[in-house]
Amino acid sequence: MEIAIFVLLACVCALTGILTVVCRKPMHSSLYLAANSLSVGLLCILLSAPFLALAQIFVCVAGIALLSAVVVVVLNLEDEPRKGTFRTLSGGATGCIVLGALGYFLWHWWGASREPAPDVGTPFGELVFGEFLLPVELTAFLLLVALLGSVLLTRREGEKRTASAGRSGL
């Protein structure tokens, strides 16, 4: 039962991934991206990684994919025009090469003896949230300052004047 759901989700994941790339409508691409992230999250649940799954859904689906959809709406992006024959052929050829390479590696991986992957997550988490907690938090604070600074720097002069006039009641 679980294997069947896993295979189904994997197929959905692959399909939505392909549709994200090939779809001509930017909004539909964003939706497929969200569906892709959601299916990856559900796959993580099946792989007994619930926190990773929820983080995936929370950050990627409700964050990144949503942001891309909002950008599409705000910029009012038009549908992507059809490419010429040469670009279509070259894109198709590149895709075939990538798929071929992927298939080759998968074929060899499938035949090779599989050992459980070493647990790199726990030591990494212990380092980040233990020994290097302060530098990590300081970096986060630095990123926040950089974000606020970039917002201030990109404000136009007119906006600044309007804002100051509004505050002074003019």
């Binding site: 409508k25 909004m27 859904i57 964050g63 949503l66 959809a69 909002v70 709406v73």
Partner: protein
């Protein structure tokens, strides 16, 4: 319990709960909103269809269903159709984590009154998926006013979800857990002469969560994104028939989910007042607890309706100022203060 029985009970809960919410909760809330509103304005309200107007929501639903599922020209069909479904599904997904009764024994089987307990991160993630509904509806409608309404709705939901998340952090710090089941069990105690609910321990968090929930669910006075005067209905203006019914149902389902969350996190959940500790229960006690949970949720919903008919609608900038300049800083303050107190007490 065997795997088959466990699966059967799990699937049963996953089917019964959404059907009960959409089939009973949403129509009752729609009727209560109109009846209480009429009472507050000195009107009679809907009372012709059935006793006390009980069949009015059914009549309204049938009217919308009879209009079919029209998709107007100039719309983006995928986004237009998907928006109401996403709204309903995200609201129902929140219910999966809410405990509506304790663990009880029924016909020899131990049943937990909760579909799953993945924790508050899941609740926020599921609630966050609902952000897509107004955005897709606004974009899919192919209309400028609908698009403005959709964007406003998206921004409203994201902003107030942050406020809800910050309020939840304080409770999680206090109970040392992110599981809603454990948070409810932690409230099965007393706080002086009062029940040991989080509403007394985290009053600021409660206010923040209540306001955040109201705004996230689109309850008035935070429904500026579908304002009739300014936006001609906002992202709903090009919807009709069954899609409009689903959009409306999604808003009511979100309100019920929000009220149930408030009760779970701050109102002791399904536990009866002054009940302490976890006790073994039979089916009848679980039923009483389930009813207590429904009554508490109903009271919170009545508060939503009371506010809806009392306060004027906030403007977009007023709501944004409220959330970003007042509620979120207060939420941060609440989190830091709770963390400090929890640290000192430990």
């Amino acid at each position: 319990m065997e795997y088959g029985e466990e699966l059967f009970i799990g699937v049963g809960k996953a089917v019964v709960l959404p059907v009960a919410i959409m089939g009973i909760g949403v129509p009752l809330l729609a009727l209560a909103e109109r009846r209480i509103g009429a009472r507050m304005q000195g009107r009679l309200g809907p009372r012709a269809a059935g006793p006390f107007g009980l069949f009015q929501p059914l009549a309204d639903g049938l009217k919308l269903l009879s209009k079919g599922a029209p998709v107007f020209s100039g719309t983006d069909r995928l986004a237009y159709v998907l928006a109401p479904l996403v709204g309903v599904l995200s609201a129902l997904a929140v219910f999966a984590a809410i405990p509506f009764a304790g663990t009880f024994t029924w016909m020899g089987h131990s049943i937990r009154g909760q579909i799953a307990d993945p924790g508050v991160i899941y609740v926020l993630a599921a609630a966050g998926l609902g952000v897509y509904a107004p955005l897709l509806a606004g974009w899919g409608s192919g209309d400028r006013l609908a698009l403005i309404g959709g964007l406003s709705g998206t921004v409203r939901q994201i902003s107030f979800l942050l406020c809800m998340g910050l309020a939840l952090l304080g409770v999680c710090l206090l109970h040392g857990s992110t599981q809603l089941g454990e948070i409810v069990l932690g409230q099965a105690s007393t706080f002086g002469p009062l029940p040991g609910w989080n509403i007394w321990v985290q009053p600021l968090g409660f206010v923040l969560f209540l306001v955040g929930t109201m705004a996230w669910s689109g309850a008035s006075p935070f429904d500026f994104d579908r304002a009739d005067g300014e936006l001609m209905g906002g992202y709903r203006r090009r919807y009709s028939g069954i899609f409009l019914a689903f959009l409306g149902a999604s808003r009511y389902a979100r309100q019920i989910a929000g009220a149930a969350l408030v009760v779970t996190v701050y109102g002791g959940g399904e536990t009866l007042p002054w009940r302490t500790g976890e006790a073994a229960m039979d089916g009848w006690t679980a039923l009483v607890e389930g009813m207590a949970f429904a009554v508490k949720t109903g009271l919170v919903l009545c508060f939503f309706i009371w506010v809806r008919w009392s306060l004027p609608r906030l403007r977009y900038d007023q709501a944004m100022r409220l959330v970003w300049r007042v509620l979120i800083p207060l939420g941060l303050l609440n989190t830091v203060g709770t963390g400090l107190v929890a640290h000192l007490m430990n």
